[in-house]
């Protein structure tokens, strides 16, 4: 009886087979291909790539298929794979001003150099269920503007030219940015370390924190200065060549928030920045990240740290979906030794207080 309540190898093996069956679902329904997930569930793929911190749409799609569509589980699969990969090198900083744009909007200016480019967005769909999608359909091709090769400067650079917004020079060029997958976190963290953490941080967590800054918890009056989505070339300088070569391109979403800043005795009033970046088309994530990035700059900008979104340790230590999911769910593991210890203690305490024996 006692042994029967314990797990064991056979239970695990049977559970894995049940899981494989559940993943497949009704065998009468055709199986989903990885390519279908990659092409038709692209935003889920993008989220897995972003929080999995690995740019590989095929692997992310495979992970989503294996994870039965659960984003966090798919992110886990990608991260556990990524952690085994060697580091071959570091790319040059990406130049998002040279992004081949699919979408670019600014909420700060009605029109601006490079124009507003709506691109594919849910924003104006009216959210009516499209029952036509119940059967296979091919949408007619969308009209396309001729591609422009010219770089489109960021909105914030236009403001920077006038000195109205802080420049965004790295804190100190001589300091290599840390790699949070290769070094333990240290507090206080540099902005580079914070941005790395936020970039792979859980979308829901950052969304809620970002939202809280709009409701009076660390209010800093944001404007969506610019949101752009498109593809950027990745360049690497191989040691044996000594000059940069393009090794591929990645799809990115970038958000630059413009935030209020009153200025100080030594510094005239100036707008400040919050920055968000995500792989693929993760606009909600990039915007939330930009809000939280700005909130976390409180100490640097001399603001009082009063709200959760400003508390560096609180935000950074709880942003990772895998750390949170793992530790919350570890409560499923047996704890009967500790529980037995607590039982023994509570019985002793109750006996001491004269409570009736259970």
């Amino acid at each position: 009886m006692y042994v029967a309540v314990k797990g064991g190898e056979r239970a695990i093996e049977n559970s894995l087979r049940l899981l494989a069956e559940a993943r497949r679902g009704d065998p009468a329904v055709p199986e989903l291909s990885v390519a279908q997930v990659r092409e038709q569930l692209r935003l889920a793929v993008d989220r897995v790539m972003t929080e999995g911190s690995l740019y590989d749409p095929d692997l992310a799609a495979l992970a989503l298929k294996q994870a039965r569509g659960d984003a966090v589980e798919a992110i886990f699969l990608v991260r556990a794979y990524r952690t085994t990969l060697p580091r071959l090198g570091y790319s040059l900083p990406l130049d998002t001003a040279r992004m081949r744009l699919a979408r670019r909007i600014s909420a700060a200016f009605k029109d601006l150099p490079g124009g507003q480019l709506l691109g594919p967005t849910f924003d104006y769909t009216q959210r009516l269920l499209d029952f036509a999608l119940e059967s296979p359909s091919s949408p007619p091709p969308a009209p396309e503007a001729p591609a422009s090769a010219a770089a489109v400067p960021g909105v914030l650079e236009l403001l920077a030219a006038e000195g109205l917004i802080e420049s965004h020079a790295p804190e100190d060029d001589s300091v290599e940015p840390p790699d949070l997958t290769r070094e333990p976190p240290a507090y206080p963290a540099s902005r580079a370390a914070r941005l790395q953490n936020l970039a792979r941080g859980d979308e829901g967590f950052l969304l809620a924190l970002g939202y809280s800054t709009q409701r009076g918890y660390a209010h800093s009056h944001p404007f969506a200065g610019e949101i752009r989505h498109g593809t950027v070339e990745v360049e690497l300088v191989p040691e044996e060549l000594g000059f940069p070569i393009v090794i591929g391109e990645v799809e990115l979403t970038e958000c630059q928030m413009i935030n209020q800043f009153a200025g100080s005795k030594t510094c005239p009033p100036q707008f400040t920045r919050g920055y968000g970046l995500a792989f693929g088309h993760c606009e909600r994530k990039a915007m939330a990240m930009a809000l939280v990035d700005r909130a976390l700059r409180a100490r640097e900008l001399g603001e009082a740290v009063t709200a959760p979104a400003q508390m560096e340790e609180f935000v950074l230590a709880h942003s990772d979906c895998l750390e949170a999911s793992g530790f919350v769910q570890h409560l499923k593991l047996p704890h009967y030794v500790d529980f037995q210890s607590e039982l023994e203690l509570i019985r002793r305490l109750r006996a001491g207080s004269g409570a009736p024996a259970a």
Binding site: G7, T83, P184, V328, Q340, L349
Partner: protein, 294 residues
């Protein structure tokens, strides 16, 4: 910690794998070994390390697994327990992982093992100098529940400013008449660092003191490693008038009759029926085998 040998030969025959011996690559193992060496040099001090993502959820033993992977050699004999038992699902899973990725011999016998990875217990069978115990640690910082900010707790450790913990234990006494901590009971290591023994029952705390076996603690999610080198003095906190004490049971193990081991309570029916059995399954099985022979 044996020297690595021809690693391919110890893998399961025919299994296609592109993973290194014991999963982690050698550079990562070196990084972890450095952290372990530092931890051994400063007993009880939490050494930050760049914890890797493991193919197991954070909080499920990733720190213990990384420490095990870093010190495991092909000739080691590995035992994995959870709640004292070899056959709980997570213990089975971790043991399977190292069988699969390192091809090492595994055992359930405490005396046969050279390396024991554990969650929440220390085996009842006395350990030896030839053994290493690796603890899975969920929360390495003993002060975290009193002060969640690491920037603060780091300072408190630096200054050996542990008043907060003593006040907590004192408040227990004023409220309950006794110290109301039954597991993860804080200890002072070598008269210096306050340390979490991991969530072992306080029953196991005396086994930490001057243990002949090297004890390594891995916290993967919190990215910390700490250690008790062999024969390190480890004192459980207490007061002169409220000294540290361990749990006692009025019952004996229903299977082997042991009165000196940690007992799990098993509910046998819905009318209040219960029995007590050893949490350490190897200890219990050994005693029963001995009893049958006698």
């Amino acid at each position: 910690m044996n020297a690595p040998t021809a690693l391919a030969s110890v893998r399961r025959a025919g299994e296609r794998t592109r993973y290194n011996f014991a999963y982690l690559d050698e550079r990562t193992k070196r990084m972890i070994r450095r952290a372990i060496l530092k931890a051994v040099a400063i007993p009880g001090y939490q050494v930050p390390f760049s914890s890797r993502e493991m193919p197991l959820p954070w909080g499920w033993g990733t720190g213990g697994m990384q420490v095990t992977a870093a010190v495991l050699g092909p000739h080691d004999v590995l035992k994995v327990i959870d709640q004292g038992a070899d056959d709980t699902v997570n213990a089975v899973n971790i043991r399977r992982f190292f069988e699969r990725t390192a091809g090492v011999r595994t055992t359930t016998r405490t005396a046969e093992a050279t390396l024991i990875q554990t969650r929440h217990r220390i085996p009842e069978t006395p350990l030896t100098e030839d053994q290493i115990v690796v603890f899975q640690v969920p929360v390495p910082e003993p002060l975290q529940r009193l002060e969640p900010r690491e920037t603060e707790t780091r300072r408190m450790h630096a200054l050996a400013d542990y008043g907060l913990m003593h006040v907590k234990l004192y408040e227990d006494i004023t409220r309950h008449g006794r110290i109301a901590t039954s597991y993860d009971y804080p200890v002072t290591v070598n008269g210096r660092y306050l340390m979490s023994p991991s969530p072992i029952p306080k029953f196991d705390n005396p086994k930490l003191d001057r243990s002949p076996a090297l004890m390594l603690f891995g916290a993967g999610r919190e990215k910390r490693i700490y250690a008790l080198p062999p024969y390190t003095p480890v004192a459980s906190l207490g007061f002169e008038d409220h000294p540290f004490e361990v749990q006692r049971w009025d019952a004996a193990c229903a299977l082997c009759g042991s009165r000196e081991s940690f007992l799990d309570e098993v509910i046998t029916d819905d009318r209040g029926g219960r029995m007590y059995v050893c949490s350490d399954t190897d200890w219990c099985a050994g005693r029963r085998a001995q009893g049958e022979r006698a």
